[in-house]
Subunit: 346 residues, 4 copies
């Protein structure tokens, strides 16, 4: 039986090339075409030698497919996607262009007027652990940002169960590939190597996603979140340390409360193929190249504060792997198809 | 005129060898001897080739000196220091053994009964920005831990001025040299390279130092602090991101409050040679090899939360450089002597 | 149909855990057991969290299997393998214990008298590109060392075709995982990070393998090889730069000779699934996690010298992947089974 | 007494900012001005925060000085230097523009016609270990390239004493800062991190320097050199492994020859403040931030080949430190002034 044809728009960025790596061996789909702007006309293996196994030439424009991934930057992505949707091609958009429900948020956070505000309501936020049924039937899935993917999962059980006050800090440490393949002094090897820094202290664009999705888990006012991203000198991986005060009376004190907390998290993620509530604090490297999100919840008993560590590979569960998980759901395939690889460690 | 003789106990650890690097060119003191346990009898340059300029043989036991640095681990350090003090040698102890005022804290946090509890009261916590006058006349200075050094400085102005509620989170990211030179799987290159992780979630030994010193800045109950250290794949540097809710009414709203905050920090550290309140978020690498602590305070206006970033080189302002700054004060020398080097960047 | 049972002796070293990563999803074999010394009794996922998907408990001793991999250090490996062979279990030995044909070489290079010198003749050196037919029927395959794997492949075409004088330099740069998981100051993060060094200048144990295998490609005296390994601060990957004087008159001059050289290499490796003669100088990262060896031959026209760059992932084509390639041949499976993954880049 | 005024042209590149770091505390000179192209008008500490101690504003044009350093790229450097020389300002040029004596070499290797070929003869190649007397009186010193600095020193004793055949291989491994501060995909963190590669296989611009300087040490035809540079994932440091066949009969065989070789090297560098013939293979990190070149000569007794390892910090002895050493000689100052710092290790 013919495999389902899919394509990648903008294969030359890190999300795009990671999609290609993961889609090529996928047993149920065929990577039919890839596009790139400056590299159009080159063989994929010329532009990206590690992909030489994939015999495709980079095209300037999308071709026919049942489903397309857009790995373009925001704004460009919406512009490229709209005609595809009109052609009936289903889309997983890895950009931010359809993640936020409030059109005005695009003016506030991304400095542009959204070209298709009516679609925002129809697009589904592509975090299967929260929106699995809607993803399956969606025409347009908005793949989560790399930071929100982990932070929302780390906090969702606590927020939904109401065990924390809506007063949250997310302190995230990201590898440098999260900043993309576009050149900048901030990603120049000698500047960022052996260096750690906080950035976007005035507010990062991934904050409204976190607020939107966590607010959707519980009635009441949206949570107040301070989100601070940091760059650390590694290529892949995000580790988010999340903090919030416990609401008194929800969990038992001491070690018993710790066990209740862990059980609450295990229950929330029961059956989830790609979220693992772990017994020891997780390490980003334990997810290198695979689609897992590892979560470790605990209570700081001295201050009655919830502390949750979440980690993932920003290019996989934080981008391309998540997108393929969404594709699997959209195509009615087993959710884990093509995503079973064990992390490459060390 | 003869230079003052000083010695280093346990030169072969990272704090010890960094002391040697900084003391060798110091114009007012003479590094008269260094000790080491397993390396005793070797020339310093054999055991540590980068120190080949220093013509000393590693001794098993301390020699005569006016002042000695102990770079031994806790417990061993107190044992080695007591006889020196009795001989009249002044001591800067880089271990934790005299940092805490409460003797019972050593049983709680370090698993040993303190051998000289009476000395705890007399020892001075060696953070000149808080205790300069007492350091000058001290016989025994307890050099701060690498994490507290930066975190206390980052929070001290806010705590003393009462602009934050005593409900603090310190999220620190440390280079691997902070874990010392003793071998462990956690510091094995292939395990920690390209990896980020949180550790000591049940409570890190540097927490009681932070509480003690910040509590001393203001009457009222001691602050509640959640301190979470992380390991990031670099050799040197600690960046601490500190969070606390602002007390309403202390600072103006909006941008005006930001300016008041920065002014409050600049005033607090006015004239301090090694603390710099910076205009842009600092980077650990900007302190590589030197004694600066860079501090960036700001307000998350969406949540009315204070966010302060502090960074330093854990082996310099977080250990050996700080110890020499203390020594300069103890010997009546200009505080910056021997510590003027610009960071080695990139 | 039941899959063939295989086992791993000493799963807790880097070669062992990489074998587990690659064998778990292998469609034709079942990883039936794994052994470890200090970790015996632990679940695999407790000792090595990234392997939590594999539901095995680490055993003290091997179990039943058709084929076993030994990832023990040399000497221990031979001791563990001999009884297995007697039981009729076929073995791929990742140690050096059966690589060299000359028993006395073990005394010279490894400081022990070989316990089964008669087996050396029967063991097959497991480089399929040179010994494919013999591997298929072997009871005992000696998997190549990580350095020789790439260096022999890089030089084999030139040696066999007689285009170079037998006067060779191999300058190799290895990631730190090649030094294994055993702790040492030389692999302590802070010592090896941001550092490059040459080691084993008096002669490295992988030299006699290179000499043996290259000598076997051509009559005449064995090649004189200077092999110098270097440690560079990365986890995975070996890049070997190989140099040898061209024999006059074998290749045309100038650009024509370059083309003849490349053609000679392409011909030699025609049909090889895991060796790729590339058009641009290869990078170790292009093989991260996969079984490829990338080779780039060229001529330094100023000095008439052959220069060949070869690179691979030391834990895959340099160890575990190579071993599975050998296993596939031994079991009559398609050679690439389970080894098709694209490199994880960046 | 007034200190000698010096200036830096193009302070914003890595060589330029390293000059500023080292000149600021220099006791005998005053850093009077710095220039930069795009950053002109900014305070030095705004453009380069780690240099905030230096209270200078970046200028568009040079000011008055007795001596100027040019850290411009080749071609631009010559253009900027010529007017300074006419004004009587002495110059240390860190670019390649005056290193080669043969004007036609600039067309061959650098693609431009040299604007002042007559000056090439007068300029002195700034390697004090070879040209100390001429540097002292030079008006224009051409600072060596980062690769040649170490490779020439590593080979000079062997070449001058005629113990090797003129058939040399230099295999160098460089940190990424050697590629400068200009953005490129090849220096983008995620591309070069965890990666090792060879480049410039068709010939690197630093080759003619090596040939010129080594040829000058001995009569006879110039040496045939294959020079192959590699990029390794660290910021600073170059390690060069040099190979050449020994001439029969010059050194004794076996261990005695090893001793003769080491003595020959020690004699050659006797009294040199910045070259150290070491007893153990050196590591780049042992020179981090300082002006040393560490050299380890040995004989591969199996092949009668000389192997010499040389290493240095490419931004110090390979650029800025070397330039200041030259300046000290030109100004009649003690050669080590301002360059005594011990390496920052680890």
């Amino acid at each position: 039986m013919a495999r389902t044809k899919v394509g990648i728009i903008n294969v030359t960025g890190y999300a795009g090339l990671e999609l290609a790596r993961l889609l090529h061996p996928h047993p149920e789909v065929e990577l039919a075409w890839v596009t790139g702007r400056s590299a159009a006309g080159q063989k994929l293996g010329e532009a990206l030698p590690h992909l030489a196994d994939i015999e495709l030439t980079i095209q300037a424009e999308p071709g026919p497919a049942e489903l397309a991934f857009s790995a373009l930057p925001h704004k460009s992505s919406a512009e490229a996607i709209l005609p595809l949707l009109e052609e009936g091609i289903r889309v997983v958009d890895l950009s931010a262009d359809f993640r936020l429900k409030d059109p005005s948020a695009y003016e506030t956070w991304y400095d542009f007027a959204h070209p298709a505000p009516a679609l925002l309501e129809k697009a589904v936020y592509g975090l299967p652990e929260l929106h699995r049924p809607q993803i399956g039937s969606a025409r347009l899935v908005a793949n989560p940002g790399c930071y929100p993917a982990g932070a929302i999962l780390a906090l969702a059980p606590a927020v939904r169960e109401g065990i924390i006050a809506p007063d949250i800090i997310v302190d995230s440490k990201s590898g440098v590939s999260g900043a993309g393949r576009t050149l900048s002094l901030a990603t120049h090897f000698s500047e960022v190597n052996e260096n750690t820094l906080a950035y976007a202290l005035e507010g990062h664009r991934h904050l409204p996603e976190m607020v939107q999705e966590l607010a959707g888990l519980r009635t009441g006012p949206p949570p107040q979140i301070t989100f601070l991203p940091h760059l650390v000198p590694m290529t892949r991986g995000i580790l988010s340390s999340c903090y919030a005060p416990l609401v008194a009376g929800k969990l038992a004190g001491g070690e018993k409360g710790q066990q209740e907390l862990k059980q609450l998290y295990r229950d929330f993620f029961k059956g989830e193929p790609f979220v693992r509530v772990v017994e020891q604090p997780p390490q980003t490297k334990q997810t290198w190249g695979n689609n897992l999100c590892l979560i470790y919840p605990t209570i700081d008993l001295r201050t009655d504060r919830l502390v949750v560590i979440g980690c993932l590979d920003n290019l996989v569960k934080g981008a391309a792997g998540q997108a393929i998980q969404n594709m699997n759901l959209m195509l009615g395939l087993p959710e884990t198809t093509g995503l079973e690889a064990i992390a490459v460690y060390p």
